[in-house]
Symmetry: C2
Subunit: 295 residues, 2 copies
């Protein structure tokens, strides 16, 4: 009997989406950071769902308010990765009956902190008990919006495009994973000044996510490992392998790359050119990244 | 220390929604079957999230395909309760790594069966591992639509309105909870022919849900217990207390009730007048219904 641990997340998703009706008209469906729904008009609807699981995405000892922030911020990071903004949130909690009410209130305060900062609103929610001893699960689904002319998918990169990342990579586990800032400000500036050809947020580590972006764009990549922006205290291997950076990975046409570096208006957040897209057959490989179900 | 078990679901939700920004322009937010978002035009956007937890909403021995059907059908039942239709679905799975791939595929087939029947499409999803031994959680969020003139909230019932339910109540645990049919057909007919003043679906049992509807409408109720439509093999107490009927509870103006009964075009589904709305102070009480976190 094959288990989820045997096949991993990406192979699982590929099997599952064949078993259900999909939206033939969607600009992007399963496989991009968000689903992109074309309702007519100038504004596209973004849809995203994400979950935090106790012991997997946070430890029971983590402050509930930080867990709430993280749960909302992960979803907002995906809206950033499309060039969009968050809008309406739905929060589903599956918690043991013995959970303290004050813990859940702090969790909601953290969600509220994040929604307030990024102009999201709560539209609804659901709470359910789980059996005593089961891990708590916090699942957040949300709608967002993006202007039609600004939307960036993972799939439009071309050989020769330069690859960039924001911020520093690696070592998120030491704290950043609980209080990171989704890069809404940066991507909203980017899409209106130097529209990327492909973009995604780094949730499972560069080693896992860069191959996803290049596969979607039907390209390969060449990375200059020396140029990787590494968090203080992290090794190059950790910068490639650690998950939950929540920085933005994107590609732009090579003739814009110098101008972009000169124009980057956020002195508090580094922007680094780390390599380029190449033809598929010429791709380098990159080991590492977080694999769900393997641990 | 107060726990979720001490205060229960309704009191918890009341506390939580004070801690986050809400949509001031929403026609209905937390507390109705769906959130109702006004985007301008003739069509309102509906948002809903719901979760199934192993051991709480299904047993490990239940067929995965039925669990998938149930997960999608519960959400569709909420769209029915607004007078609307389902549209885009997001599926979040939190499962142990040792789960069989074939089990997850069957789960998705069940979701697919239900989406196909009710014209929903999958827009995206998320999978995460949970620690070995933790309960599986299936969380489904979805968008739906409803015509502005057709939307029915829980809150517009008035004293004197007649109370109706579709189908038979009680005993869902013996099988119906896994293969019920969301009442889309019936409510879509209702809202265009005899628009209810208030409507909801029965997920936690009449004893729990009727007081929710009347509280939202700021009314009380008087039920004729003799008239309750009871499933074969169930007692009147079970018809009031058992959860997961997924029938529709609604109220209409008293002068339309006879005409509605005569016009009801679905011979395969009983429609029963069970009582009337009264002023709040004159309300009867009704014991029973499913309480999350209490078990």
């Amino acid at each position: 009997m094959k288990t989820l641990r045997d096949i991993g997340e990406d192979a699982l998703i590929e099997r599952l989406i064949r078993l259900v009706p999909l939206d033939e008209k969607a600009a992007a469906g399963p496989g991009d950071d968000c689903a992109v729904i074309d309702q007519g008009g100038e504004i596209l609807l973004l849809l995203k769902t994400d979950a935090l699981v106790e012991h997997v995405h946070f430890l029971p000892s983590a402050p509930a308010r930080s867990i709430g922030w993280k749960a909302a911020a992960r979803v907002i990071s995906d809206f950033a990765a499309m060039g969009g903004q968050p809008n309406h949130f739905l929060v589903t909690l599956a918690l043991p009956g013995e959970t303290a009410v004050s813990w859940v209130e702090d969790l909601y305060r953290g969600i509220g902190d994040c929604l307030e900062k990024f102009d999201g609103v709560l539209a609804g929610g659901e709470t359910s008990s789980v059996p005593t001893g089961s891990a708590a699960v916090i699942s957040i689904a949300a709608t967002g919006t993006v202007r039609r002319k600004n939307v960036v998918l993972r799939s439009m990169g071309k050989p020769g495009d330069r690859i960039f990342v924001t911020g520093l990579l690696g070592g998120s586990i030491h704290g950043k994973h609980l209080d990171f800032t989704p890069r809404i400000r940066e991507t909203n500036w980017l899409v209106s000044h130097f529209k990327p050809t492909a973009m995604m947020d780094l949730s499972d580590g560069l080693g896992k996510d860069l191959p996803r972006l290049t596969a979607a764009s039907n390209c390969g990549f060449k990375i200059d490992e020396i140029s990787l922006p590494i968090s203080p205290g992290s090794t190059p291997t950790q910068a490639i392998s650690d998950g939950e950076d929540f920085e933005i990975l994107f590609t732009i046409a090579s003739n814009k790359s110098r101008e972009l570096i000169a124009a980057w208006p956020f002195p508090d957040l580094p922007l680094t050119e780390i390599g380029e897209l190449v033809e598929k057959e010429k791709s380098q490989s990159l080991a590492g990244g977080w694999e769900h179900f393997s641990k």
